[in-house]
Amino acid sequence: MTTSEKYVTAAYLVVLAVVLLYVVIYSFKMARLSQEIAELAELARARADRNPEREPEQAPVA
């Protein structure tokens, strides 16, 4: 490759590198968000489990 070809390739590669870096960062972010959603789903399930347990205790009062 001639010198100018090397530099031109370098310029295009730099742009590609930034876009690929973005993909990497985003995949980490998606992993974190999925984890977050899983935890929140667990919290929601725990809350849903707690509520039906309370009602049978309150029924005799009425």
């Binding site: 100018s4 530099y7 031109v8 985003y26």
Partner: protein, 227 residues
């Protein structure tokens, strides 16, 4: 606050097609420049990146104006994300510009290169934008202050251009001039395709980033509601 990212995927598809097609045109169709030779091909990526950066800054300023006008907080995130994208493309402009300077004139930096000097000033300005944002606690105050500063930025762009233009060859000899404007028809078409693709890429990334940030915020709300 809608989480639906409608435009993102569409823009990404356009970016994919246009950039792929454009770069193919650059290397297989566009004629080699008579004066500069093969190194002129950097022009096809350097200028679209620069123009996309300007577009992002302009969009950020527009959203900033909308924030000040309507007071709707969602515009703060939009403005911030746009400026974030603009800064990334700005850094890319400086890097590709430096590579072009190196290959054209043997130096990594030339003060005679007007576009690059303006981008350097903008880089300083928008870096201060982020420092400002990080030093104010989140809230309407930060949103409004960032918006005002973003507007100053977009006004600074033409002023800097004018300043450097009147400076002319006063301080630094413009021994090197880059005249890519004498383009043939096929060169121009190629340039437009890559430009369109780069703009689509910039805005596709913008929408993706925005969607991600909004998702973050919603999940935080949800966690607070459930905990």
């Amino acid at each position: 606050m809608s989480l639906r990212n409608r435009s993102g995927p569409a823009l990404a598809v356009c970016a994919f097609a246009l950039l792929l097609g454009g770069i193919a045109l650059v290397f297989w169709w566009a004629p080699t420049d008579a004066d500069q030779g093969f190194s002129q091909k950097i022009f096809y990526i350097h200028v679209p990146v620069a123009l996309t950066a300007y577009a992002c800054f302009a969009w950020g300023a527009w959203k900033a104006l909308r924030l000040l006008w309507t007071g709707n907080e969602r515009h703060d995130l939009e403005s911030y994300t746009a400026i974030h994208m603009g800064t990334i493309f700005g850094v890319l402009t400086l890097v590709t510009g430096a590579i072009w300077a190196r290959i054209s004139w043997g130096v990594w930096w030339s003060w005679g290169e007007r576009q690059l000097v303006v981008f350097l000033i903008l880089f300083l300005f928008y870096s201060a934008y982020f420092m400002l944002r990080y030093s104010i606690d989140p809230g309407p105050r930060r949103a409004r202050t960032s918006a005002v500063y973003a507007l100053f930025g977009v006004v600074l762009i033409p002023i800097s251009f004018l300043a450097i233009r009147i400076l002319g060859t006063l301080l630094h000899p413009a021994v090197f001039t880059r005249d890519g404007v004498g383009m043939t028809g096929s060169m121009f078409v190629t340039f437009l395709v890559v430009l369109a693709g780069m703009l689509c890429l910039g805005f596709a990334l913008y929408h993706t980033e925005l969607a991600g940030k909004r998702l973050d915020a919603r999940l935080r709300e949800l966690r607070r509601a459930l905990a």
